[in-house]
C-alpha cells in the first residue's frame, strides 16, 4: 500500500475542508471494506484518507414519524441490530444481511456501498425501491439527490470535488408498502451479485391491487438500473402471477448486461426476470404483512 | 521363469506380446535376459544404470525400492510402471 495521511475530523465542516484540501487524491473512509481492499491491492492511488466515522451525524440512525435517516457510515451490523428498522424496513435488512460476511457487516455501510458505485452493489437496487434521498455535503453546502440518479458509471457517481455523502433518507413508507431485495450468487454467502433485484409495491387496502411499484436491478448495466417501465406496468394491476411475470419480462428487457467471469449475458437476462418476480412476490407478502424479516435468510437461498 | 508384463508402448519390441517369460534372480538379470530376446528393451527401461526416472518396477504387486537390485522369484510377476511418489505420479 502506498503511504497515506490519515485524518479523522469530528464535524461535517472539518471533513469538507480536509477533502477539499486533499483534492482528487483524498477520499472519505467509511467502513473501509471496499476502500482499504482497493488500497491494499494497489487499485487506488490516494494520498489522504478522511475517516468520517468520528462525525456523529455519519453514524447516526434516526427512525420515527418522519421516516428513517441513516448516517452514511452507519454499519450494516448496527442496522441489523436495530429492531425498529427490522420492524419498519424489513427489506433493508435483506441487503445489510448479505453484504459480505458477518465481519464485513461489522464495518461496511450503505453509504459506502453506494459511494463505491459498483453496478453489482447489494444495497442500491434496494435503496431505489425505497425511493431513498441522498444527502450530500461539500464546499458549496448541502444538496440532495435521488438515489437512482446517484451512480453515473462503474465506480463513478455524482459526488464532486470535496463532496461526500452524509446520510440516506428513507421516506415514510405508505400504507400497504412492501419491498424486498434478492441477489443471485453461486455460493450462499461471500460473493458478488451475478444479478440483484430490489422491488417495492404499494397495495390497495384489500391487498388485491398493486397501486404502485418500483423495480430495480443490479449487475445488469453500468449502474444499478431503475426499471421504471416495470413499475409502471404493475401500477393499477391486480396481484397475479401473470402481472408479475409481465413486469419480470420488462425487467429482463431493460437489463443490458455484459458477460464476465461472474455471469453471462443470457444468464443475467434470465435471472433479471426470475429475481424480479421473486422479489415482487415477497414485497407483496410483506405489504400484506405475511412475511417477516426473519425469513430473509431462507429467502436469500440461505435455507 | 518370471512373468514380465511388457508396457504397451514397448510391445512393438516383443512382437505385440503382453506377457513374456524371462529368467533372472534380480530385476537387473531379468532385464538383461529380456534384452537378449528383444534387443533394445533394456535401453527403454534403464538409464544411467538405474530404472528410468519417473518409472519404477513392481514385483509381485509391490513397488520395489531397490529397483534393478530387487529380487525376483521363479514364479514372480514383474511390471514396469510409472512411479507414484507422494501421490503425484511422475510423468517422465
Amino acid at each position: 500500500m502506498q503511504a497515506i495521511d490519515y485524518v479523522a475530523p469530528n464535524s461535517v465542516d472539518e471533513a469538507v475542508s480536509a477533502l477539499a484540501a486533499g483534492g482528487a487524491s483524498a477520499r472519505p473512509l467509511g467502513g473501509g471494506t471496499d476502500l482499504i481492499a482497493q488500497l491494499q491491492e494497489g487499485r487506488s492511488d490516494l494520498d489522504t484518507i478522511v475517516d468520517v466515522k468520528r462525525i456523529p451525524e455519519l453514524t447516526a440512525i434516526s427512525i420515527g414519524g418522519d421516516g428513517l435517516t441513516l448516517g452514511a457510515a452507519a454499519s450494516c451490523h448496527s442496522i441489523n441490530n436495530n429492531q425498529a428498522i427490522r420492524d419498519g424496513y424489513p427489506a433493508l435488512i435483506d441487503s445489510t444481511h448479505l453484504i459480505g460476511g458477518t465481519q464485513i457487516q461489522g464495518r461496511a455501510s450503505l453509504g459506502g456501498n453506494l459511494c463505491n458505485s459498483s453496478p453489482a452493489a447489494d444495497s442500491i437496487p434496494n435503496l431505489i425501491a425505497h425511493s431513498v434521498i441522498c444527502h450530500i455535503a461539500g464546499p458549496n453546502g448541502r444538496r440532495t439527490v435521488a438515489v437512482e440518479d446517484f451512480c453515473t458509471a462503474p465506480g463513478r457517481n455524482v459526488l464532486g470535488n470535496g463532496e461526500f455523502l452524509v446520510a440516506l433518507e428513507f421516506p415514510v413508507p405508505p400504507a400497504n408498502f412492501g419491498a424486498a431485495y434478492l441477489r443471485f450468487i453461486p455460493r450462499n454467502e461471500m460473493d458478488i451479485a451475478v444479478v440483484g433485484a430490489g422491488s417495492s409495491v404499494v397495495l390497495s387496502d384489500d391487498g388485491q391491487t398493486i397501486e404502485s411499484a418500483r423495480v430495480s436491478l443490479g449487475a445488469v448495466a453500468p449502474t444499478p438500473l431503475f426499471v421504471q417501465e416495470a413499475g409502471d406496468a404493475l401500477a393499477g394491476q391486480p396481484v397475479s402471477e401473470e402481472t408479475l411475470a409481465r413486469a419480470a419480462e420488462l425487467a429482463k428487457d431493460a437489463a443490458r448486461p455484459i458477460s464476465d467471469m461472474r455471469g453471462t449475458i443470457p444468464q443475467r437476462k434470465h435471472l433479471s426476470a426470475v429475481l424480479t418476480q421473486r422479489t415482487l412476490r415477497i414485497a407483496i407478502d410483506r405489504a400484506r404483512g405475511t412475511k417477516t424479516v426473519d425469513e430473509l435468510g431462507r429467502l436469500n437461498g440461505h435455507g | 521363469m518370471a512373468q514380465v508384463w511388457i508396457p504397451p508402448l514397448m510391445r512393438s519390441l516383443t512382437g505385440g506380446q503382453q506377457i513374456v517369460e524371462a529368467e533372472g534372480a534380480t530385476v537387473r538379470e531379468v532385464v538383461a535376459a529380456l534384452d537378449e530376446f528383444y534387443p533394445g528393451i533394456a535401453d527403454r527401461i534403464v538409464e544411467e544404470g538405474r530404472i528410468r526416472p519417473g518409472w519404477t518396477v513392481a514385483v509381485d504387486g509391490a513397488v520395489q525400492n531397490r529397483g534393478l537390485r530387487a529380487a525376483v522369484g521363479p514364479e514372480s510377476e514383474v511390471h514396469f510402471v510409472p512411479s507414484m511418489a507422494g501421490g503425484q505420479a511422475s510423468t517422465l
Binding site: 494497489g42 467471469m261 455471469g263 444468464q267 437461498g301 | 508402448l9 505420479a89 510423468t91
Partner: protein, 774 residues
C-alpha cells in the same frame, strides 16, 4: 466396523477393539492449545532481528520473452536492500532428478522460481526485492522495468495440441515411455496401460456409453499463503524457516537450484496452514536465500499474497477426458477405455500418471486401456492436489458407470458391487490387489440409513460414486528419547498438518504399552533426523507411524535387556504387560524402569523405514442435492462418505480427513475453477471469486469408517488423507442427473453451466418430435 460418532474421549481408554489401549481413542493433539490460543508459529509469524521483507515481481503476461530487466530505479528507492533475477541463479542442468515428490527437471524447477528467458504464465516470478518493510519492497518491485515480447498464449489441451500451436519449451520432445520424439511439442509425454482385447470386449457389450468430459483448473486453497524466511549467514550456512509439507523436499530442491551441498542448508519447518499437495514445490525459498545473501546476510522473509498464491502456485490440472465402457446383458463390464489429457501448466508433470491409476481402479476388468497425455500450457506449473488427478477422472468414469447402470436397469450400488475390484483383481497398471476394502465401502453405503431412506421432491436427486487412491509408503526417520521419568520424546520430521503428531505418538504409546500423554511428539528440522519424505500420499500415519512402532519395540527390548542385567536374570525371562516389567518375583512399572535402566547409560532409539507394501484406499460416497430450476444452483442436502481406513488410529482425525476431502471435492464439483481471459490473464485470483465452499454451502458430512486392516502394517494402517476427494464430483454429477435429467459433461457444475445445460436439454426436447401414436 462403522463409527459415525464424532464425540471422542481423550487419553487411554480401552476401546475394546482388537485389544488396543491407545489406538482408536481420541486424545487432544500436542499442538492443540497453541493453535486455539494463537500462539502456534506459522511461517509468516517468524520474527528475528534485522528482518528484511521480500516481494516477488511477477509477469503480467501469460507467454512472453523477457528481453530485459532494468532494476536501477528500484535499487535507488530508499529502504531497498537487494534485488535478484534469474541472472542470480546458477545455470541449471536440463536433467531429471527425483526430488520431493517424484521426478523433476532441474531446469524447469529453477525457471519456475525465477523466469529465465521466458515468462510462461501470468504470475510467473521475474524478480525478487528485499527492503526494510513489505510496503517498500512492493513499491520497489513496481519500479523494476521489464521489457516483454509477447507470444500467443496456449491455454488448453486443444490449444496446445493444435498443429500450429506455439511451443512453450524449446527443448521439449514427447517421451513415450523411453521413446523420444523428434519434433518440438507441447506434449511432454504419452503412456498407455492396456490389457486384454478391447475390441472383443466392446463387441460383447450390450450397452456402450462413450462420453467426453472437461474439468477446469482448481487450486488446493490452503488458507495459509506460502511464506518463508531465509538467513544466509556470513559463514555460508543457510537456514530456511518455511511452511512446507516436506522440509527435506525443500532442502533437496533449494540445494539443487542454488547448487549448494545439503550440509550448508538447514530447513526448519514451521507450523503449516494447510498444503494438500501444494506445499511441496519451492517458490519463494530460493529467492529469499539469494536476497539474504545479497542484502549483507540479513534474514529475509517473503510472504505471498493470496493473489500470488492463486496465480503462481499449486493449481492442479484442468483436463479433457474420454471414457468408453460397455456392459453385457448380465451387467458385467466387458471393456473400458479411458483417454486422459491433462494440462501440466508451464512445465511437464501433471498428475496424469496417478490419474491413470485411479481411472478404472474400482472395477475388475479383463479388457481395458488407459492412455495418458501430459501437456504443457501457459498456466502455473501444476502441483499435487490431494489424490492428484483422481477427482477429474473419477468424475468422468463414475458418470459413465452411473449411465451404464441406468441403461442396464440396475441399482448403481449393486452395479458397483457386481463389477467391483477385489483381492487379486488387477489395477489399471496391471498390478494385483492385495486385500482391499472397496466392496465393503459400497455395501456400507448401500446399507446406510441414508441410502435406504426415500428422497422425495421435485428437482431433488441422489448420486453415488466410488474412488480409489493408491496411497504411498515413502521414507521416514524418527528418534525416540526415553526420559528417566517414563516419558518419551518422539522426534519426527513429518510435517503435521492434520494431527499426525498425535496419530504417530499414539502408535509409539501403543507399541510401548504406555499412556498417550507420556509421549511428547514434535516435528524437527533437517539437521536433527535423517531423510524424511513429504507429508503427502497419505503416507505419514502409515510410514512414520511404522517408524514410531519400531521405536517402541526397540526401546522396550532394550529396557528388557537392561532390566535383565539389573535383576540378573536371563533376558527371555522378562515379561512386559500392562505397563509393568516382570521376571519371577521382580516387577517394576514402566516409569520406574525408565529411570533404572538409564542409571549407567542413556537410552534412545532411532528408526528409518521405507515400506513398499502400502495398502490402497477406496471410498464410496452418497449425496442428495436439490436444484433451483430457475437459477441452476445446487444445494447439497445430505452427504455420506464411506471409506476403507484400514485402522483408524485417531478416529476424529480420520473423520476430519474424510469430511475435509469431501468438502474440497464438493467445491471442485460445483464452483471452483480458474477463469482466464483470452490473453491468458487469471481473472479470479481472490478468495472472493475463487469460490471455495463456506460453512453455509455444506451440510454435516456423515462418515462411515470401514476398517479393513492393511495386512502389511502392525496396526493395519492405510493412508486416509486422499481417497475421500476422488468421488465427490462424480457423486454430485450423478445426483444432478437424478434431479434434472441432465448429464453434466464439464466441471464445475456451476449455476451458469448447469443452467446452460438444462436449457440445451429443453431445446433438444422441444426439437424432438413428440412420440406419437402413428
Amino acid at each position: 466396523m462403522a463409527n459415525t460418532n464424532p464425540n471422542g474421549s481423550g487419553g487411554r481408554a480401552a476401546n475394546g477393539q482388537n485389544g488396543y489401549k491407545v489406538i482408536g481413542t481420541r486424545p487432544v493433539r500436542p499442538d492443540g492449545v497453541d493453535k486455539v490460543t494463537g500462539r502456534a508459529v506459522y511461517a509468516a509469524d517468524v520474527q528475528m532481528t534485522g528482518l528484511l521483507h521480500g516481494f516477488v515481481l511477477r509477469s503480467p503476461h501469460a507467454h512472453a520473452y523477457i528481453r530485459s530487466i532494468d532494476t536501477s530505479k528500484a535499487e535507488a528507492l530508499p529502504g531497498v536492500r537487494a534485488i535478484v533475477t534469474a541472472a542470480d541463479l546458477p545455470a541449471a542442468e536440463d536433467k531429471i532428478e527425483d526430488l520431493g515428490e517424484g521426478a523433476i527437471n532441474l531446469k524447469h524447477l529453477s525457471d519456475n522460481v525465477l523466469a529465465d528467458e521466458k515468462a510462461l504464465y501470468h504470475g510467473h516470478a521475474v524478480a525478487g526485492v528485499a527492503a526494510v518493510n513489505p510496503h517498500i519492497a512492493r513499491e520497489a518491485a513496481e519500479l523494476i522495468e521489464v521489457e516483454y515480447e509477447l507470444l500467443p498464449p496456449v491455454m488448453t489441451v486443444d490449444d496446445a495440441l493444435a498443429d500450429d500451436a506455439p511451443i512453450l519449451l524449446d527443448g521439449l520432445r514427447t517421451d513415450s515411455m523411453g521413446e523420444v520424439g523428434a519434433e518440438p511439442t507441447n506434449l511432454a509425454s504419452f503412456f498407455r496401460h492396456q490389457r486384454g482385447d478391447l475390441d472383443a470386449g466392446f463387441a460383447a457389450a450390450e450397452q456402450v456409453v462413450d462420453r467426453t468430459y472437461r474439468t477446469e483448473t482448481v487450486h488446493q486453497g490452503y488458507i495459509e499463503p506460502h511464506a518463508a524466511t531465509a538467513l544466509h549467514s556470513a559463514d555460508g550456512q543457510i537456514t530456511i524457516w518455511t511452511s512446507t509439507q516436506g522440509s527435506f523436499a525443500v532442502r533437496g530442491q533449494v540445494c539443487e537450484i542454488l547448487q549448494i551441498p545439503v550440509s550448508r542448508l538447514k530447513v526448519v519447518p514451521t507450523e503449516i496452514g494447510g498444503g494438500f499437495g501444494g506445499k511441496i514445490n519451492v517458490y519463494v525459498e530460493p529467492v529469499a536465500v539469494l536476497l539474504s545473501q545479497k542484502a549483507g546476510h540479513e534474514p529475509v522473509k517473503i510472504v505471498m499474497s493470496r493473489a500470488d498464491v492463486l496465480a503462481a502456485t499449486g493449481p492442479t490440472s484442468g483436463s479433457n477426458i474420454r471414457v468408453k465402457m460397455g456392459a453385457d446383458a448380465g451387467g458385467k463390464i466387458t471393456a473400458a477405455l479411458a483417454e486422459l489429457y491433462y494440462e501440466a501448466g508451464a512445465y511437464p508433470g501433471s498428475p496424469v500418471g496417478a490419474a491413470a491409476n485411479v481411472s478404472l481402479a474400482p472395477y475388475a476388468l479383463e479388457n481395458m486401456q488407459v492412455d495418458g497425455y501430459d501437456i504443457v500450457v501457459n498456466r502455473p506449473r501444476s502441483a499435487a492436489y490431494r489424490a492428484p488427478g483422481g477427482t477429474n477422472v473419477a468424475f468422468a468414469v463414475e458418470s459413465v458407470v452411473d449411465e451404464l447402470a441406468e441403461k442396464m436397469g440396475m441399482d448403481p450400488a449393486e452395479f458397483r458391487i457386481l463389477n467391483g475390484a477385489k483381492e487379486n483383481d488387477r489395477r489399471p497398471d496391471g498390478l494385483q490387489y492385495a486385500r482391499i476394502g472397496h466392496i465393503e465401502t459400497v455395501e456400507s453405503i448401500r446399507d446406510s440409513e441414508h441410502y435406504q431412506s426415500p428422497l422425495e421432491g421435485k428437482y431433488r436427486g441422489r448420486g453415488i460414486a466410488s474412488g480409489y487412491w493408491n496411497n504411498w509408503g515413502g521414507q521416514s526417520s524418527a528418534t525416540a528419547v526415553l526420559n528417566p521419568d517414563g516419558t518419551v520424546n518422539l522426534n519426527e520430521a513429518s510435517t503435521d498438518i492434520g494431527g499426525t503428531r498425535a496419530s504417530i505418538a499414539m502408535q509409539l504409546a501403543e507399541a510401548m504399552d504406555i499412556e498417550y500423554e507420556q509421549v511428547k511428539a514434535r516435528v524437527v528440522d533437517t539437521d536433527t533426523v535423517s531423510y524424511n519424505d513429504v507429508t503427502g500420499g497419505s503416507r505419514t500415519t502409515y510410514s512414520t507411524g511404522l517408524a514410531a512402532y519400531n521405536l517402541g519395540q526397540q526401546l522396550k527390548e532394550e529396557m528388557k535387556r537392561r532390566l535383565a542385567d539389573h535383576w540378573d536374570v536371563p533376558a527371555e525371562n522378562i515379561s512386559y504387560e500392562d505397563g509393568v516389567f516382570e521376571a519371577g518375583s521382580e516387577s517394576m512399572p514402566f516409569a520406574e524402569a525408565a529411570g533404572v535402566v538409564q542409571r549407567d547409560e542413556p537410552l534412545m532409539a532411532s528408526s528409518t523405514v521405507h515400506p513398499q507394501d502400502f495398502g490402497p484406499g477406496f471410498s464410496t460416497q452418497l449425496v442428495d442435492v436439490e436444484i433451483d430450476p430457475e437459477t441452476g444452483k445446487i444445494t447439497i442436502l445430505r452427504y455420506t462418505i464411506a471409506q476403507d481406513v484400514g485402522k483408524a488410529i485417531h478416529p476424529s482425525y480420520v473423520e476430519g480427513q474424510m469430511q475435509g476431502g469431501v468438502a474440497q471435492g464438493i467445491g471442485w464439483a460445483i464452483n471452483e475453477e480458474y477463469i482466464y481471459d483470452d490473453e491468458g490473464h487469471l481473472l479470479n485470483a481472490s478468495l472472493l471469486d475463487y469460490r471455495m465452499p463456506t460453512a453455509l454451502d455444506l451440510p454435516m458430512i456423515e462418515t462411515i469408517m470401514v476398517e479393513v486392516p492393511h495386512p502389511a502394517h502392525p496396526y493395519g494402517v492405510r493412508g486416509v488423507g486422499e481417497v475421500n476427494i476422488v468421488p465427490p464430483a462424480g457423486a454430485v454429477a450423478n445426483a444432478v442427473y437424478a434431479a434434472t435429467g441432465v448429464r453434466m459433461e464439464k466441471l464445475p457444475i456451476s449455476p451458469a453451466n448447469l443452467l446452460e445445460a438444462m436449457w440445451a436439454k429443453e431445446a433438444e426436447a422441444a426439437a424432438e418430435p413428440v412420440p406419437g401414436d402413428d
